[in-house]
């Protein structure tokens, strides 16, 4: 039981990272991004190519994360920012289009054969409380912890963090007060992209497969975590992501595979939204 929970926490940590990216983007630009999964995956594909040319795994992974961040910046500048003022659905559809463009482009560039990408922290495993955790799992947990702490510090203590908070609360008022709102949008997308890249770098070795199309499964879990957390709350996304990971891991352990985990994810979203439409930590309206 404890073992399943630990493994669940580890994959949940990766969902949480991507979920935090979704929340940042949502708070920053009021766009519910369906592209976060593919932005991260694209980064890993690039990392795979770099690795294939003989660069060490961890360095390649780092470069992949950077590429994911840059890609998100480009998307924000040329696809998202021009949509300001249009209905929310338009933004979501745009990110869906971008996700599909990235998916099929990956298919064009790298083909549809399954590739593997090595874990950046080695393949050592540790037995803890009856569960087996890989070094990768532990790295995920540590990264999620660092991200949570870093974002907490950023929003609570730094000037720019405060500006981000203000711009997301009311862009017009923030603009009047001299907050560079466009910079904030850019920043939230860039950071969201980096987090997606990190999540993908962790998730891909964990599930052992790098294929276009595969990211939807991660995305839906990260989305579930973000929505359970309330979609506007960073720590909500972390709690939500971990919850999804744990419940999924328990379901896999006790009920078995064959799509049961997807039923659980669906059930979690549904239960949260029906019992508490705002999510666990969401702001009203």
């Amino acid at each position: 039981m404890l073992g399943y929970i630990l493994v669940g926490l580890a994959s949940g940590a990766a969902y949480a990272l991507m979920g935090v990216g979704i929340v940042l983007v949502y708070k920053g630009s009021k766009v519910l991004s369906l592209a976060q999964g593919e932005i991260g995956a694209f980064g890993v594909f690039v990392a795979w190519t770099i690795h294939d040319h003989g660069v060490a795994g961890p360095l390649a992974a780092l470069l992949g994360v950077v590429v994911a961040g840059l890609l998100a910046l480009v998307i924000e500048r040329y696809a998202i920012r021009p949509l300001e003022g249009r209905p929310q659905l338009v933004g979501a559809v745009m990110t869906l289009g971008i996700a599909l463009v990235l998916t099929y482009t990956e298919g064009e560039l790298w083909g549809f054969n399954i590739k593997s990408f090595p874990s950046s922290v080695g393949t050592k495993t540790f037995s803890i409380a009856g569960g087996v955790l890989s070094a990768n799992n532990i790295a995920a947990l540590v990264l999620a912890g660092i991200t949570a702490a870093g974002l907490y510090y950023f929003f609570a203590r730094t000037r720019f963090g405060l500006a981000v908070k203000g711009a997301t609360a009311d862009p017009n008022v923030a603009r009047l007060l001299g907050v560079p709102v466009a910079r904030v949008y850019q920043f939230s997308w860039g950071l969201g992209g980096v987090l997606s890249g990190l999540a993908a770098v962790i998730l891909v070795p964990q599930f052992g497969a790098l294929v276009p199309f595969h990211q939807t499964l991660f995305l839906i879990r990260a989305l579930a975590g973000a929505i359970i957390g309330g979609l506007t709350s960073v720590h909500g996304a972390i709690v939500g992501g971990l919850l999804v990971g744990v419940v999924e891991s328990l379901a896999r352990g006790y009920i078995g595979t064959g799509g049961v985990t997807d039923v659980v994810v669906f059930g979690l979203i549904l239960a949260t939204l029906i019992v508490r439409p705002r999510g666990l930590f969401g702001e009203s309206a």
């Binding site: 599909l100 463009v101 064009e108």
Partner: protein, 625 residues
């Protein structure tokens, strides 16, 4: 004769020509009949999504799952040799039920979160439901023999074409009946929709059901066309690619969806693999092309291909669209006055029980009405009475609680106390029950659906009078055709009363502001109310228009026999036309009485002009609802 002239409409001819060309395709390209039939099936699926997103504003990212459910239900029945019509019916029903269940969260939550639940449903259906041996036959799927008259690819093509035509027709019928008007109203704003008597929850579920039924039909067609139903056919990318087709087509545009499907599905399927010696393989690369096109369309062409087709069509057929210019109000002749009286009497004939038509003296009675939003007391213990035949004014500074009082009466504010209309308690009833009792209102920020035509808005306002069932009405049953004709006559009469004839086909959003407000009142009157609640009808009107508005209030009472309660800021207007005035400040009633008394009351003057002298008290922050 009428049918003939409708047929001669160039648009219809154009559509018929298109249908003929498509019907001839398998004769011209017999080898491609199968591929094209699959395209038709997918287009039917896109059409089902178009009805849901375009008309009801609900985004489904799991539409492929509804199609899959239809296909597997059809497959299971077909392998047991159930006749085709029954199979199709069962698959349609299964799709509808599945979609309705998926739509349940939309009752609690709004917007994009519902879209995410549909995405999660789609993934779950693909990974779990379609993986169940008993339902889908496992990964191998179900193999189906095509039944007798549909064994050839060509025959099955025509079967799929018939299904696509049915989905097109369903979309047309939804649009033209009370179901579609309710969808549009809910899409625009659930509270205002309820004020027209629309129940938002059941409307959304109906939209999901209809969309799911069409998707189920597409599923059945898939099973027959392909001769198999396999889980991998109904993955999440089917759902997402349907979204692409609908958005590229221009959400809500039927013709656009067809054009988009032709471009994104049919064209790549018909193109040769090798073009000019290069192995382009358009069939495989089509999804990438479609996704790129989606991004371009969202960025640069909000109307999609449908908008483009419409603009070209308008140019070809010389249709004028655009802003309607303001005209002066014509002077009424004696004949027109007589006609108006006739129209007014006609509009008062509504199916309302006798108990609500008794000549009681007191029409609206508010007793201790209080509304609290969090820490703000927006209304506190308001007592108010409106008698039959009166014009009652409700005045007060911004944030005094006037609109909140209207919302409490309308059922959109969490009110305590009692509001009785003709002796019936309103606060325990849902907002959508008001029009039935005889209450109609206008909104400060316009209650009409701007994207729809004047005619559709007037028909929408009569939602409660349309006694037919929204679902059956789509099929033309339950007296829908007769009722619709009657409602159109009523709309015409209401437009005539307000000198708005000839505006029927204009979109409300294209009208100048003054006309828009007049249309709003006309729509309220078309609902056949006893009591009309007008929220700042004079806001934004020029002085001359405001004066005319005063005459209109008096005419509404004398010619239409209506009782009015009006929120107004325009003091001369209100002093001239009202019989009694209530003045609110910070949620409390500070003064009531006859106009001349109230407008000269020092408390009222102070409230309106601000406290220039005397002790300054901090004024409570009040919420403008």
């Amino acid at each position: 004769m009428k049918a003939l002239s409708r047929l001669a409409d160039p648009r219809r001819l154009f559509c018929l020509a298109g249908l003929l060309i498509v019907a001839c395709l398998p004769l011209a390209l017999p080898a491609k009949a199968f591929t094209l039939a699959v395209v038709l099936v997918k287009t039917t699926g896109a059409m089902s999504l178009n009805t849901l997103v375009g008309q009801a504003g609900q985004m489904s990212l799991g539409q492929g799952a509804f199609i899959g459910v239809g296909a597997f239900v059809a497959g299971n029945l077909a392998v047991r040799h159930v006749p085709l019509p029954l199979v199709v019916l069962a698959a349609t029903a299964a799709g509808g039920v599945t979609a309705a269940i998926t739509g349940l969260p939309s009752l609690r939550i709004r917007g994009l979160q519902v879209a995410v639940t549909t995405l999660a449903f789609g993934v779950m259906a693909e990974k779990f439901l379609f993986g169940q041996q008993w339902f889908s036959g496992g990964t191998a799927g179900l193999m189906i023999d095509r039944p007798v008259p549909f064994q050839s690819d060509r025959a099955v093509f025509y079967l799929a074409l018939a299904a696509l035509a049915a989905s097109f027709w369903a979309d047309v019928r939804v649009r033209g009946t009370k179901a579609g008007r309710a969808f549009a109203a809910v899409r625009d704003g659930e509270e205002r929709a309820a004020s027209f008597g629309v129940e938002p929850g059941s409307s959304k579920l109906l939209a999901y059901t209809i969309s799911g039924m069409v998707a189920g039909l597409a599923g059945a067609m898939f099973a027959y066309v392909v001769g198999a139903a396999t889980p991998s056919s109904f993955d999440i990318f089917l759902s997402l690619n349907l979204v692409v087709i609908v958005v590229v087509g221009g959400v809500g545009s039927r013709l656009g969806v067809l054009v988009s499907a032709a471009l994104l599905l049919a064209l790549p399927a018909l193109m040769p693999k090798v073009i000019f010696g290069a192995n382009i393989d358009p069939g495989r690369r089509a999804p990438l092309f479609a996704a790129v096109l989606l991004v371009i369309v969202v960025r640069f062409m909000p109307g999609g291909l449908g908008g483009l087709v419409r603009r070209v069509g308008d140019k070809l057929f010389g249709v004028q669209r655009g802003r309607k210019e303001e005209e002066g109000v014509p002077v009424s002749s004696a004949e027109q006055v007589a006609q108006r009286a006739h129209d007014a009497a006609f509009l008062r004939r509504v199916p309302r029980p006798l108990s609500l038509r008794m000549p009681t003296r007191c029409m609206l009675e508010g007793h201790g009405v209080s509304v609290r939003f969090g820490g703000v007391q927006a209304l506190e213990g308001v007592n108010l009475e409106v008698r039959r035949g009166e014009i009652v004014g409700l005045i007060g500074a911004n944030g005094a609680g006037k609109t909140t009082f209207f919302n409490a009466v309308g059922g959109f504010a969490p009110a305590t106390g009692s509001v009785k209309f003709l002796g019936r308690e309103l606060l325990t009833e849902p907002g959508s029950a008001r029009p039935r009792y005889g209450l109609a209102r206008t909104w400060q920020q316009m209650g009409l659906v701007r994207a729809e035509t004047v005619r559709d808005n007037l028909l929408l306002a009569q939602h409660w009078i349309a006694g037919y069932s929204a679902g059956l009405g789509i099929l033309g049953f339950d007296g829908a055709v007769r009722t619709e004709a009657e409602l159109r006559r009523r709309s015409q009469a209401a437009l005539a009363i307000f000198d708005l004839e000839g505006l029927e086909d204009h979109h409300v959003g294209d009208l100048p502001y003054g006309l828009m407000r007049r249309v709003e009142i006309a729509a309220a009157v078309a609902a056949g109310p006893e009591l009309l609640m007008l929220d700042e009808a004079s806001a934004g009107l020029a002085p001359e228009e405001a004066r005319q508005l005063g005459d209109q209030f008096l005419a509404l009472r004398s010619e239409l026999d209506l009782t009015l309660i009006v929120i107004e800021h325009h003091v001369p207007l209100i002093a001239r036309v009202t019989d009694y005035i209530y003045c609110l400040e910070s949620g409390r009633l500070i003064c009531e009485g006859h106009p001349s008394d109230v407008t000269s009351d020092p408390k009222v003057v102070e409230s309106f002009m601000g406290r220039s002298h005397s002790a300054r008290r901090p004024r409570a922050e009040a919420v403008k609802a």
